[in-house]
């Protein structure tokens, strides 16, 4: 549509319907931008009372913590630890699963198998939490006891091993299962984008299938794998219910993965405390939520930027 007027051109006239429709769609797009800005603004507005609250108010809202920064830092530690564990377990697994679907499974099975993995993403997180408590945690206790006995010299497995199995490691495993589908689907996508001719050239030169994957597919997909990991990290950081249900928390800073004294995560802490909170305590929780939002926003931003840069590089 050009800017020429109706009088001097054989172009289609600008109709009211067209202008209205374009206005509507543009407005919808802007609503999204405004919403995203609104998330930041409203959280900040509600977090301010926590920052300006007097020492006594704070002490009442968060018992046992001297400052808001200290309180938040401990939660950030727990969040990072749980997410790191989840990623450590999920990434190798999802690269394997994605490879299986894209390069190893029979062609005809690839689609249904991908659907099965996507099913994992569809299951509600609260159901994962329930499963984590009643199924996974009891089955982990013998393993934790074994770890304490045989690897107890490591700070991670110092023990005493939890008898309920509701440790940060269990929470990390449940998180890993929830991260798996998103990381897998992204990895699968980039694996499938490997230029067919490069792969065939490698095979024609006598490379085995694994050598083809290692020498052709992986170098090509490296940035995709990195961004898949970061998106998975974003998901693991923000995941709430599974952790809130599985973990027995005491809000400490500890690298001990198998004891019943565990650090808490930001999201789980909010979910557990929010329903019973009032006054400054609510503002404190919102302030921690703001921190979580900023962290995940930055991580997602970086991940998408990496993916975007790749697309630009390819277009050239």
């Amino acid at each position: 549509m050009t800017t020429q007027t109706q009088a001097d051109a054989p172009h289609a006239p600008r109709r009211a319907g067209d202008r209205l429709f374009k206005g509507l769609t543009t407005a919808a797009g802007i609503v999204i931008l405004v919403t995203l800005a609104g998330v930041g603004v409203f959280l900040t507005v509600e977090a301010i009372p926590a920052l300006t609250a007097s020492h006594d108010d704070l002490l009442e809202a968060i018992p046992g913590s001297a400052t808001l920064a200290g309180y938040t830092a401990r939660l950030v530690f727990g969040t990072a630890l749980a997410a790191a564990l989840a990623l450590l377990i999920a990434m190798p697994l999802s690269i394997g699963v994605a490879l299986f679907i894209s390069h190893y499974a029979p062609r005809r099975l690839a689609w249904p198998l991908g659907y099965l993995i996507d099913l994992l993403a569809a299951i509600p997180s609260v159901v994962y939490g329930l499963w984590g408590i009643f199924f996974l945690a009891p089955r982990m206790t013998p393993i934790y006891a074994w770890l304490e006995d045989h690897l107890g010299f490591l700070p991670f497995f110092k023990g005493p091993a939890s008898v309920t199995g509701r440790t940060i490691l269990t929470a990390g495993i449940v998180l890993a299962i929830m991260v798996l589908p998103i990381a897998t689907s992204l990895c699968r996508e980039v694996f499938l984008q490997t230029p067919r001719l490069n792969e065939e050239a490698a095979l024609a030169l006598g490379a085995t299938r694994w050598e083809t994957v290692r020498l052709v597919v992986f170098p090509y997909a490296r940035s995709g794998i990195v961004s898949a990991g970061m998106l998975g990290l974003g998901r693991a950081l923000g995941e709430t219910m599974a952790v809130a249900l599985v973990l027995s928390v005491s809000n400490v800073v500890s690298f001990n993965l198998i004891s019943s004294v565990n650090p808490n995560t930001i999201a789980a802490n909010i979910a557990l405390k929010f329903p019973e909170s009032s006054g400054v305590a609510v503002n404190v929780l919102i302030a921690t939520g703001l921190v979580l939002f900023v962290i995940t926003f930055l991580i997602n931003f970086a991940a998408r930027a990496i993916v975007g840069r790749r697309d630009v590089a390819e277009a050239r």
């Binding site: 429709f21 543009t26 919808a28 998330v39 697994l93 299986f100 329930l130 199924f135 249900l245 979910a271």
Partner: protein, 378 residues
């Protein structure tokens, strides 16, 4: 290692090289037939060897099981036996490269099976524990005045339906119009910014969406606000990016010829979009929306914060607490009645119903896209 022949390579100490040296005098046809055939064949394991090794590994596992080792331990031991024996045998007969290849194949396949284990275990748990709880009383009674056994999910079911429906009503127009803007109108910075931020928005933690809704409504209604509509707003924040992404992809699939044919007939752009582009992409769009609904219907954290929890049925989205299925599950576990086992049973029952709803929605989505999408190629 060093005695390994690369396919077609001349370095073999065995027969092929000698015979090819002896055959140098022969004419081309003979040269092409006999010795090359042998040269190109690097040694391979007979097909049945992996099967035998697998059987042996199974025997090891069964043996361990019979002397009282745990199931998990036996499976791990059997797997290790298989992996080790296969890679050693393959290394001896086929060389290091083939052996690595076999090991990689085994590892990749194992990764897939391991990834499926939790899915199977979870579905089995949910169905075996949840299905027996669900009966007509469970579906038609709320938790009002229920402390011990009895009670059900009637109020939570209605809450979930209302909140999700409201979220859908808000997200679908915004999401679809944005998708149309991105595909049909956008050129330049605004479009790129929206695409990028929609991607970033898909990563917003659900609990942050709930806090956002709370912060928004607390400004208007004062602190401590709880209402169903807030939950719908929070879910919309999570749902809009999903609708935009799927809508965008579907609209991009509509062939340009269709649009141009319509313009050539003098149809204005907005009519082209609403009468030609949208109907063509409809099946895909419906699929995308259904998947988005399935994704947000199980969200717990935002609803816990802004909808709260209650034991009574509430049909009014704009006032008071509203129970939803995911929050119900959480609440039954966290604040059990007496006896606690009745609450846990109800939690499993609700988890079963929720899982069935989610699965049914994704199945419907697949069926719609399978049966109603226009064939892209004639």
């Amino acid at each position: 290692m060093t005695d390994q022949t690369t396919p077609g390579g001349p370095a073999s100490p065995e027969g092929p090289i000698q015979s090819s040296a002896a055959d140098l005098q022969l004419d081309h046809d003979d040269l092409a037939m006999m010795p090359f055939e042998e040269q190109l064949h690097s040694p391979r394991l007979p097909r049945q060897v992996p099967v035998w090794l697998g059987a042996a590994a199974l025997v090891v596992g069964a043996g361990l099981l019979s002397i009282g080792a745990g199931i998990a331990l036996s499976i791990v031991a059997a797997w290790l036996t298989f992996a080790l024996s296969l890679s050693i045998v393959s290394r001896i007969r086929e060389g290091a490269r083939k052996s690595k290849d076999r090991l990689a194949t085994l590892l990749v396949t194992t990764a897939f099976v391991v990834a499926l284990l939790p899915l199977v275990a979870l579905l089995w748990q949910v169905f075996s524990k949840g299905a027996p709880v669900v009966d007509s009383t469970f579906l038609t009674s709320s938790m009002r005045n229920v402390v011990g056994e009895g009670g059900g999910i009637y109020h939570a079911l209605w809450g979930t339906v209302l909140v999700t429906a409201m979220a859908t009503v808000m997200s679908v127009p915004i999401g679809l119009l944005t998708a149309i803007y991105l595909v049909e109108y956008s050129n330049g910075r605004l479009g790129r910014a929206i695409t990028f931020l929609v991607d970033v928005m898909t990563g917003i933690p659900s609990i942050v969406a709930g806090l956002f809704a709370y912060a928004l409504f607390a400004i208007f209604f004062g602190p401590g606000v709880r209402m169903g509509f807030g939950g719908a707003v929070a879910l919309s924040v999570l749902m809009i990016p999903l609708v935009v992404r799927s809508g965008e992809e579907m609209l991009k699939l509509v062939p340009h010829d269709l649009r141009e044919a319509s313009y050539a007939l003098g149809v204005p752009k907005w009519r082209t979009i609403s009468k030609v582009v949208m109907p063509t992409a409809l099946a895909g769009i419906v699929t995308g929306i259904t998947i988005a609904i399935a994704r947000v219907i199980g969200e717990t954290a935002p609803l816990l914060i802004i909808c709260g929890a209650t034991d009574s049925t509430n049909f009014n989205l704009f006032s008071g607490r509203m129970m939803t299925l995911p929050v119900y599950i959480f609440n039954q576990y966290k604040n059990p009645g007496i006896p606690a086992s009745a609450s846990v049973d109800r939690a499993w029952g609700a988890a079963f119903v929720l899982t069935v709803i989610v699965m049914a929605l994704s199945l419907v989505a697949r069926l719609v896209s399978h049966y109603f999408s226009p064939k892209t190629r004639a």
